[in-house]
Amino acid sequence: MTAAAPGRSARRVFPIEAALRGLAIVLVSAIVFFPVYWMVLSSLRSSSESLSFPPPLLPHGLDVSAYVQLFSDKPIARWLALSTLVASLTVLATLVLVIPAAYALSRLAWRGRSAFGLLLLFTQIMPAAVVVAPVLALYRSLGWTDSLWALALLHTAFVVPLCAWVLKASFDAVPRELVEAALIDGCNRWTALWLVLLPLTRPGLVAVSVIAFFASWNEYLFASTLITRNELYTASLGLATLMTQLDTPLFVLMAAGVTFSVLPVAFYMAIQRHLLRGLTAGAVKG
């Protein structure tokens, strides 16, 4: 962990400094990672152990009874299924809206393009709390409360600006000549988009899908405002109610937290580098 491979050629790293740096990194990582470790550890304890104080910092064997209890006593499977449904609808709607918009932003010259870009930025930084009350009023008048597809539509509205930005950066990276060549070869604009541009920007499309999916999967404020019926609860709502029910055993609550986090953590880790490139390419040049 601490042994230094040769660092930057310009700067010699002395052994003592390497050791200190290594130590600092280990320490900081431990502090940062402790809550995660604690969440997982607490979910793998039996009920008798979870109430002792001071709590043991190391596991005594693994007890998965919390997970067994979670899946047998609480409707977590249903919550996760509904979260998956809403998040999938969000991804679908996002892709439908964002592919043509990113194409227009990246490839075409038109009046109002920079104004549109600004508008996107603007909606992106709008605090959700600012619109939550009027949105609820609007949804009530349309009869869209307690509707999962309408919730997905709202999630889409809030994630689309960022996704348009990330996808535009991906489109920008594809050489224009490729698309032009396809147009000369007799493709029309749609087929050029389908056959040339989209296959070349697959990583960007994956990143946009992941961003949209988990923005919806993680979202709590709109979901808690618009969904009131228990049978329509998504996982973030279900977990928040578990928190307020005093009879939920602690280790079951932790197990619920871990179960809900596994998917986003796995996906974010997998695409982390790519995502950062996409995000920083759009924002930070140089």
Partner: protein
């Protein structure tokens, strides 16, 4: 066949329609409801708001929370990025570990913090009691100052990995030759940092400062689930305040007025962001 002049507008139309219906229209409607008075339209709600000491206390808390979160996130994010900006075995692992808090949804983060701070069996108290002179476990969520510290800590913990990773990419983009030249010119570590590293990442830092400002001003879920805005409003910042006015007191006009303030804050942040962008494009 579609005329090529109208084509780009057709491409953005669906997205524009959705943004208009679900973001812009509700903002306008909220602003309008803040102007409604029994006798038509007027600034009564705003007069009431500006005369309300609770409103100013909330603005003060929001400023404190935002500045604290933003400053700490940038400082910790930069410190960690500098630590990681060299080749060592296991760097990929550390990077991956760092991604985790960023990826965990806010609801589980809130659950973890609440349980770690529980007065009777929270692990955090086990650490605190190791400190000399601490006999009792502090009541983290019942003390206004401690509760504020807790929501700041939770918000920083969830947010800073992203800042670290962006700054690390920025640091790695600074050309090695510059460091070599600086060393030739006799610059030490401090000189290198001041004359090479800082100018090289200034753009990213400015951008992240604005993003951090927006991130902390918008924060709702963590605060709401950890403290509920309490104890006695001690952690009620802008977003929880709007939520309470609307859904606890059903005072939609007042909620709209506070929302307009939030909207103005965001607009100022957007303008700052754009100026930063322009400045970077020029340099």
């Amino acid at each position: 066949m579609i005329g090529s002049r109208a084509f780009p507008y057709l491409l953005i139309l669906p997205m524009l329609a959705l943004e208009g219906a679900l973001v812009l229209y509700p903002i306008a409607r909220g602003a309008l409801s803040s102007l409604e008075t029994p006798a038509g339209f007027g600034l009564d709600t705003y007069r009431r708001m500006l005369a309300d000491p609770d409103f100013w206390a909330m603005i003060g808390r929001t400023v404190l929370f935002t500045l604290a979160v933003d400053a700490i996130i940038l400082a910790v994010g930069l410190g960690l990025a500098l630590l990681m900006n060299w080749s060592f075995r296991g760097r990929g692992l550390v990077r991956s570990l760092l991604t985790v808090p960023w990826a965990i949804p806010e609801v589980p983060v809130a659950i973890t913090f609440v349980l770690m701070l529980d007065p009777s069996f929270g692990v955090f108290n086990a650490f605190v009691r190791l400190l000399p002179g601490v006999e009792e476990s502090p009541q983290w969520l019942l003390d206004p100052t401690l509760a504020m510290l807790v929501v700041i800590a939770a918000t920083v913990w969830k947010g800073f990995p992203f800042y670290s990773l962006v700054l690390l990419s920025a640091l790695q983009a600074v050309p090695d030759e510059l460091y070599e030249a600086a060393t030739m010119d006799g610059a030490g570590r401090v000189g290198q940092f001041r004359y090479i590293t800082l100018p090289g990442i200034r753009g990213s830092l400015a951008l992240l400062a604005v993003l951090g400002f927006i991130y902390s001003t918008q924060q709702f879920t963590l605060i709401w689930l950890i403290t509920g805005g309490g104890p006695v409003d001690a952690t009620t910042t802008l977003a929880p305040a709007i939520y309470m006015q609307a859904f606890r007191f059903y005072d939609f006009g007042y909620a709209g007025a506070i929302a307009v303030v939030g909207f103005l804050i965001s607009a100022i942040a957007t303008t700052a962001f754009v100026l930063v962008q322009r400045g970077m494009a020029e340099s």
